[in-house]
Subunit: 139 residues, 3 copies
């Protein structure tokens, strides 16, 4: 069994952002040399997500608006977590909706994807340095 | 390490549907010959889900109603994604709530499930041909 | 390839509860002897979750309040599932938001975690005996 580990670093200029990381995961896969296996991609921070969906700017706008409705940033004092001095309780909830991780099949040396699947990093409490883990196991 | 890949095809008659696919995943597992490992099952399309929950018709009704409340189909023009000519923005959101994938442990040649766990394919933009991937690795 | 399987048992005193199980997963990992691989941790029951987020009591309170808003327990008769004699339809929905499982990378014999990642068991229909599965594969 082979295994391969890579960390991707992000520091978004905006508090919230969506970044297509498919190509970076494909690069990691090539470096791994794995032909058949599984690829885990996860946020290593608890106010950001890794998820799979469409690379379409309108949809990214819809996600952002929808998440703000389901887990509004304000009023900040509505969240007990924010009594710690943080103002990012909503970011923990938004990340919960979008998910921490994806597991992708590797078949014949490639991410085994449907036609529109793209891997995104979603930031909900940005402007600070954060990491994503890519872990590949297989043969 | 063994690996096994199988694609399941679906074309639902209704726009939205819930299909119990546990038996089909069990058949794939038998073909794989894997005794100890992991089984990934994921939607390969971004408007459908694979999830694990109860095979109870009342609950399927509740899921449908609840998802329609959290991510309503209409008004269609409320979603910027629908400006592309699609009317399925809500399906992308519903699939996000229900999830893209499940990872199931394989123990002694069987899906290592609790008493009520069943694997479902959830369609939110059907009436077209779609795929689910079953990827099994282990020994 | 090595594999290791362990079942964790829970019987919460309260109907809803959040339990930090990171240490128990770390113990399972040590027993497994795996240095590089993947660790699946999943609820084996369909009204509870395993998720990764912050070990901060204010946030746990916020999760509980937020889930009650997104999927209220009452009125019980609003859910068709509850016609079966159960009153836990909301617990199935809450578990869907929080997720069934996490997959964690194992690197150099440890859970490869960011600074705040902690594994939680979330119970939404407690006061009965339930199980969580820890499945580790790797080398």
């Amino acid at each position: 069994m082979k295994s391969y580990t890579e960390y991707l670093y992000f520091e978004t200029k905006k508090p919230k952002d969506f970044i297509n990381i498919t190509h970076r995961v494909e690069e990691a896969l090539q470096k791994s040399g794995v032909q058949e296996g599984l690829c885990l991609v996860n946020a290593m921070h608890i106010t950001s997500s890794v998820y799979i969906n469409d690379a379409e700017s309108g949809l990214l706008h819809d996600f952002d608006k929808w998440l703000e409705k389901l887990a509004p940033h304000e009023p900040i004092e509505n969240y007990r977590h924010n009594l710690t001095g943080e103002d990012n309780a909503d970011a923990h909830l938004k990340r919960t909706i979008m998910g921490r991780e994806v597991v992708v099949a590797i078949t014949q040396g490639k991410l085994d994807f449907g036609p529109w699947e793209q891997i995104y990093y979603a930031e909900f409490d940005g402007q600070r340095r954060k990491r994503v883990l890519v872990k590949i196991i297989g043969e």
